[in-house]
Symmetry: C2
């Protein structure tokens, strides 16, 4: 079952993500990252691939796109804060870059 993360579990789970550029905003309880691509096509291709996983896992990002940039904010709305699902989707998004 998905549950809100305790601060210690959260930090353990998020630490590898901080290394790839994710940041955690305690005030909004959101995990976020700005991705920059070569151009719009690359940025939207990334979004399309990520969208498949989001739908598959029924866990969707709040995200915006401006030309070659994609800004992602992850939180688990149903739970009112970050959960392991957010870490899972963040890891997947990083994997999609490689």
């Amino acid at each position: 079952m998905t549950e809100l993360l305790s601060p210690s579990v959260r930090e353990t789970l998020f630490e590898p993500l901080y290394a790839t550029g994710w940041t955690y905003d305690a005030e909004t309880d959101v995990l976020q990252k700005d991705f920059t691509f070569q151009d719009f096509t690359e940025a939207f291709a990334f979004m399309t691939r990520a969208a498949m996983w989001a739908e598959k896992w029924d866990h969707h990002p709040d995200w915006s796109n401006c030309y070659n940039r994609v800004t992602v904010a992850l939180t688990t709305h149903d739970m009112g804060g970050v959960t392991s699902l957010d870490a899972k989707l963040a890891r997947k998004m990083d994997q999609l870059l490689t």
Copy 2:
């Protein structure tokens, strides 16, 4: 050639768009609309179709998506304000809904 719109031309061009829910923000010089869909899949399908036209016309929206909602902001960054390209892309986005 694409050029900034005079207020009168802008209003003529944007008036039919206002009727479908677009609004023009004079302060930011941006044409914007919130689209709501049945679910994430429908919202992202719309974005994918719109992305093809944006790339084809080399005119890209600033947009964000949160589950079934897509918020679009159109302006012509190169020109520093709205142009006929923004009206053209807005019309196309409306057409994609039908």
